[in-house]
Symmetry: C2
Subunit: 346 residues, 2 copies
DNA sequence: ATGAAAGCGCTAACAC
DNA sequence: GTGTTAGCGCTTTCAT
């Protein structure tokens, strides 16, 4: 038989209201009745239906997280951190992934819709769908919803957001290469939708009065495969280059892989810098010089922020931007350890 | 104002029952009324409350997934596959992670409890908590619940389960090393709770009439860090060894890393074989010889299976075991490419 | 073909 | 302190 609050009430000889009070730890209950109720609860191994509860209290104690994928360590780690942090606060996580072979934006829309229908208390939204008309219409619509939403690593006007300072991160990386003496630095990055790293790359050139060679720029999917492809093209093109700045570590690993196969040594022949500082970066060979993202802090902060939005009610419409500094981690792949900075600095 | 089915009904000039019928695509509605209702739905941008719905229809179209962690590529990929497959069938995923610095079993219990309270339609359960009394009591209790549960890569008596044939996988790996001429093969594996790989390691020795040296066996956390530690100890111990079979790829990468640092070349001085075949395995240096797990198939199958359990009702108590074959992938780290099998075979 | 009404399992006034 | 009752937003008989 299905056990509900009613059965428990009958067993304890009290009303369902009293059981509810015990369940929710309300004040003003004779400790003897409380005991009886607890005994009944235990006897039936009763556990209240959270779904029924949330219909009344208007909170589901769940939040929805949308990430592009999980098979990329960056996102996986972020999801792990977010889940753990939410759990600490009594929230459970709905997780959706948006990268599909077909239409990612379609999945994104549907995922958010699913979250909304399931009455999540908040949404953490992070994907890379692009910035076309359709996307903008979608995010406009999103802002109308009365659920707190926070965008992760995405610049959506008028929406609370948290992101890394990738212009700074990319600049630091490229500046480092320039100070190492490189003037022909290629950029192999993600799709056009996340232009910050490319911007940082360009800025670093500008600051140092170096002309960017557009033939050295490659954009595509941010994965190992693309690092491979783009680097192959780069080598085949004949355009001179002595360093590559990559949009993420997977791309960097792919780049290193083909170059080694082609007889080019990293960092002796070509210096490489990645982005993200995934675990692997610390034990690839050569170990990757890369831009470290403080995932842990970012994950915790995004949770704190979404919870705050939930609790203060979505009253004051003050949009907040939380931006995190990036940190260049110098290892082997850029060759910094093999050269003297003063010697090549100009 | 909050839009419910009631507002839509009023707008369309029908009863809420009719709106419900339209929403659920029921037969027998005059197409003119249907149109009116749809127009009203559209006008208000109405989307039904899934929570209220599930109270009545007794299904939440959600399932709970519990994995040890996400920062391990194996689990992350599995979660990704499962989410995608569930989505195709109209289900949304609750995700929990069980590895904590404190008590993992505690979190596991709480996570399952949370799933149950949220009335998930099914649970995919995979962790590595151990096999002590408390754990057994817990799983016993689990089986009493009237929610379909399927254990992933875990042997829980009396529960539906799906797992890889790790004894076979490990045997294949170790046999390969033996055929390559190795007789002093270390094993650096996960905790005692998942003994299959160690068993396969031992079996391979037995089959080939080689004595296992217990000093060559190390157990601990299945991560890079532990691979590092254990291998350091192994080298320091002075026990002779020419090969290491690792419980997973992260351990293997850790092992290779320290050995290289200590001046030992892999595979020239020591052969290494990993387990899982994570992406990284294909582009580490040396590329990892490892045991490939068919994650994609396993993920899809576990979803099919849980959905089947849901739909047939948990009637016939036939327990099913779905076991998947593992496949040894030979790359560089075992040195197979450098030696002739016939030459070392005995 | 459509509406009225009875709940799903719970919480929150409002009584007493 | 504790019970009674009216819903939360929906689906589903049972009428008509």
């Amino acid at each position: 038989m299905k056990i509900t609050i009613r059965e428990v009430a009958k067993e304890a000889g009290v009303s369902i209201a009293t059981v509810s009070r015990v369940l929710n730890g309300k004040e003003g209950i004779r400790s003897s009745t409380k005991k009886r109720v607890e005994k009944a609860i235990h006897k039936y191994n009763f556990s209240p239906n959270q779904i029924a509860r949330s219909m009344i209290v208007k909170e589901s104690k769940s939040i929805g997280l949308l990430v592009p994928q999980l098979s990329n360590e960056f996102w996986a780690t972020l999801a792990e951190v977010i889940e753990a942090e939410l759990w600490l606060h009594g929230y459970t996580l709905f997780l959706c992934t948006s990268s599909t072979k077909e239409d990612s934006l379609l999945k994104e829309k549907a995922a958010i819709h699913s979250f909304l229908q399931r009455k999540v208390d908040g949404i953490i939204y992070s994907t890379s769908s692009g910035s076309d008309r359709e996307f903008q219409a979608f995010t406009e619509n999103l802002k109308q919803q009365d659920v707190p939403i926070i965008a992760f690593d995405q610049r959506i006007p008028g929406m609370n957001q948290i992101y890394g300072d990738h212009i700074q991160g990319a600049m630091d990386a490229v500046k480092h290469l320039i100070l190492l003496g490189h003037t022909h630095i290629a950029y192999i990055g993600g799709p056009l939708v996340s232009p910050e790293r490319e911007l940082g790359y360009r800025n670093a050139h500008t600051v140092h009065n170096i002309q960017v060679d557009e033939n050295l720029i490659f954009r595509g999917e941010p994965n190992f495969q693309f690092g491979h492809e783009a680097t192959s093209k780069l080598m085949a093109s004949g355009t001179p280059f002595t360093a590559i700045f990559c949009g993420n570590d997977l791309i960097a690993l792919g780049a290193i892989h083909v170059m080694e196969a082609a007889g080019l040594n990293v960092p002796d022949h070509v210096a490489v810098v990645g982005y993200d500082d995934i675990n692997m970066a610390g034990f690839s060979k050569p170990m990757l010089t890369t831009v470290h993202q403080p995932i842990e802090e970012m994950g915790k902060t995004v949770v704190d922020e979404i919870l705050r939005s939930i609790h203060r009610g979505n009253s004051i419409g003050q949009i907040c931007h939380l931006v995190f500094p990036m940190k260049l981690v110098i290892r082997e792949s850029c060759g910094a350890s093999k050269r003297s900075l003063t010697q090549t600095n100009h």
